[in-house]
């Protein structure tokens, strides 16, 4: 159920109790004002009886809500019988349940609400007059407007609950078309809209038509595209546009179009019977009923589409990396094959050296000479292939490509990665975030910085001895991010290894993470230092150059 409907239900329950309290208080006032017929104890008994019966019938249930209403009117009738006067004070009590009708916690309004007061009047007056009905009919009509409004509100909230659940239900949010199986019964439950059997969603983008999804699977769809594109541009509501879906002609339908960022999303509503929507009163009502929800659904599908496009881009990125790795593996096979002459040459030399038989040696010599020639060829080819693998421009795992980011985005990124490893932030924040001051951006490669942050913070988590945190320092030309944590002093050799440029080629063979961090930071041109502060703190400092703020980028 939608959150709003749940809140509304709770509110109605509270109001129901308050209403009864008001009825009791007002009744006491009336009995004092008009002088009650019965003595105090009889009145007290009826009051207690009324309240007790009410609380006994408090459970939500259509039958019990009717009995609660009867209980109210019996009590009201009892009070009015005592007063035996019809004036504004007593009529207020008689009309109170009707006036309170929009707060009713019962699901449906009941005609007893209007019949019982007429019966009370008839009983007290000891005669029935037709004019008694007129004010109640008048009130009934007024309440019916509220009734309609409530139905509309409930209808929209039920539909909204379907979309809300879409975001939290793992099964649904990978399959947005499953929304229709929940939505169609809700739409069909209204008496206003014809029974819908299917809903199909199309997308029109740059004069191209795509099937987005549908309540049933669309294998193929045929239509006059030119006519369709013209029609949806002219009107957001189309009736009975001819489609052929999965080989079946669909000539009776309603098409509602919604636009998001110049992309048209068209929902085709197919009725279960071959009946037109284009008749009174449908064309007044249907679109108004469906628009709020389907407008929202369009945004959900649009967001889903963007997500899929982003996934494809990531896949493309991954493809390049996969191709690189695949080429590297192929290259290793190639190199292995080309090592044949080298291995063979060495084996023949070994054979030559082992034998003392001159005749055998003479037989081996031509082979050695021949194999030597092949050696040169092999080695050249191996070196060429190795150069290809090592060449930086071929390597998709480089992060030379940087672009500008806002400081808020960068900070949010650090925070997000940090929260994966640590529960407490321990951030000492010193960047000036005053909106009036001159702002700056910074530059980095997103994948590169994510790698550096994730790698370093995970190491902090692994090796810290209880002290850890980040200092955010602002200097004239830099935004500085300084990670600190304490360590076991016996393990501090890595700090010197990191800091000495003279040992890079050595550390890259042993400590993968550190070497990659240093390499990526150098490729992104981010100044970085790692220092040891006594007694046992390692400081890892990154300096991001301040660049002129660009209002066009998303900070």
């Amino acid at each position: 159920m939608s959150i709003l409907l749940e809140i509304d239900k709770s509110q109605r329950k509270i109001i129901s109790i308050l209403f009864r309290i008001l009825i009791v208080i007002y009744s006491v006032f009336l009995l004092i004002y008009i002088n009650s017929k019965f003595n105090f104890w009889i009145n007290a008994l009826f009051f207690i009886l009324y309240v007790t019966i009410y609380f006994l019938l408090l459970k939500k249930n259509r039958l019990l809500s009717i009995i609660r209403l009867i209980n109210d009117y019996l009590f009201i009738g009892f009070i009015m019988y005592q007063t035996n006067v019809f004036n504004i004070f007593t009529f207020s009590l008689l009309f109170a349940p009707i006036l309170n009708t929009h707060n009713h916690s019962g699901d449906k309004k009941c005609c007893i609400l209007y019949i019982l007061p007429v019966l009370i009047l008839t009983y007290i007056e000891k005669s029935f007059l037709w004019w008694y009905i007129i004010p109640f009919l008048f009130l009934c009509l007024i309440n019916s407007f509220d009734n309609l409004r409530s139905k509309y509100f409930n209808f929209q909230q039920k539909l909204n609950a379907v979309v809300d659940n879409f975001f939290i239900d793992d099964r649904m949010n990978q399959r947005p078309y499953k929304i229709y199986s929940k939505v169609i019964p809700i739409i069909n439950s209204t008496s206003v809209i014809k029974n819908i059997s299917d809903i199909i969603c199309l997308r029109v983008e740059n004069k191209n038509l795509f099937v987005v999804n549908g309540s049933s699977f669309v294998w193929n769809i045929d239509l006059d595209k030119v006519k369709f594109f013209k029609s949806i541009k002219k009107s957001k509501i189309l009736y009975n546009f001819p489609f052929n879906i999965n080989g079946v002609d669909i000539n009776f339908n309603l098409v509602n179009t919604y636009v998001v960022n110049d992309i048209h999303y068209c929902f085709i509503f197919i009725p279960s019977k071959k009946e037109s929507f284009n008749i009174f009163p449908y064309y007044f009502i249907v679109s108004k009923l469906l628009n709020p929800f389907f407008n929202r659904l369009t945004k959900v599908f649009h967001s889903d589409l963007r997500q899929k496009k982003n996934n494809l881009l990531k896949l493309k990125e991954l493809e390049n990396k996969f191709n690189y790795v695949s080429n590297s593996i192929k290259s290793m096979h190639f190199i292995k094959n080309k090592l044949g002459p080298i291995k063979n040459y060495l084996a023949m030399v070994d054979d030559y050296n082992r034998t003392d038989d001159i005749a055998k040696k003479d037989m081996i010599k031509p082979f050695l000479l021949e194999e030597q020639k092949k050696l040169v060829n092999s080695i050249n080819e191996i070196v060429k292939r190795a150069e290809y693998i090592l060449r930086k421009s071929n390597n998709p795992f480089n992060v030379f490509d940087t672009r500008t980011f806002g400081t808020q985005m960068f900070f949010a990124n650090i925070r997000s990665i940090w929260s994966f490893y640590f529960r407490e932030e321990n951030f000492n924040f010193g960047w000036n975030t005053n909106k009036e001051r001159v702002k700056y951006d910074i530059m980095y490669n997103k994948n590169g910085i994510d790698f550096v942050l994730d790698n370093w913070i995970s190491n902090m988590k692994k090796y810290n001895k209880g002290t850890y945190g980040v200092n955010f320092i602002e200097e004239n030309n830099f935004y500085v991010v300084e990670f600190f944590n304490n360590i076991d002093v016996s393990n501090k050799a890595f700090i010197d290894d990191y800091s000495l440029d003279d040992r890079v080629e050595i550390i890259k063979r042993s400590s993968n993470g550190l070497f990659e961090i240093k390499t990526f930071l150098e490729q992104m041109k981010i100044n970085n230092t790692m220092t040891f502060k006594k007694p046992n703190i390692v400081l890892f400092r990154l300096e991001f150059i301040k660049y002129k703020y660009d209002e066009n980028i998303n900070n």
């Binding site: 094959n337 080309k338 090592l339 044949g340 002459p341 084996a347 081996i364 194999e371 092949k374």
Partner: protein, 123 residues
């Protein structure tokens, strides 16, 4: 005369160990036939006439079948081969043979050492 068939598209790089053992250890008594592509084996049944078949798995782009394809064809046509040795640099060859439901043939790892080749042929 021993007859050996070598199915390999880059024989230039592996000819030395074959020629070497033929001259030094078999006094030139081995007759080698080299084919580069599967379609050069005509008819396919001729495989049964060789004492040894050395088969490279990858072969050239022009070959209709790769090494696994040739092995499948041998099984399909029920050709009785005397001894088949797979030549490959792929260390996962045994797993691949299992995956494809092929028998476990002897493997001669590339780059080829003439000593390993000699052991196979002598045995």
């Amino acid at each position: 005369m021993m007859k050996i068939l070598i199915i390999e598209n880059e024989y230039y790089y592996i000819s030395a160990p074959f020629d070497y053992i033929n001259k030094l250890y078999f006094k030139g008594s081995i007759e080698y036939t080299v084919v580069e592509k599967s379609q050069d084996i005509k008819p396919f049944s001729i495989l049964s006439s060789y004492d040894y078949i050395f088969l490279d798995i990858s072969l050239s782009h022009q070959s209709k079948l790769d090494g696994f394809g040739i092995l499948n064809q041998i099984l399909k046509d029920e050709i009785k081969i005397k001894k088949l040795v797979i030549m490959t640099g792929n260390h996962l060859i045994e797993e691949k043979l299992n995956e494809k439901g092929l028998p476990n043939y002897q493997v001669l790892s590339k780059p080829i050492d003439f000593n390993d080749l000699l052991q196979i042929i002598k045995n």
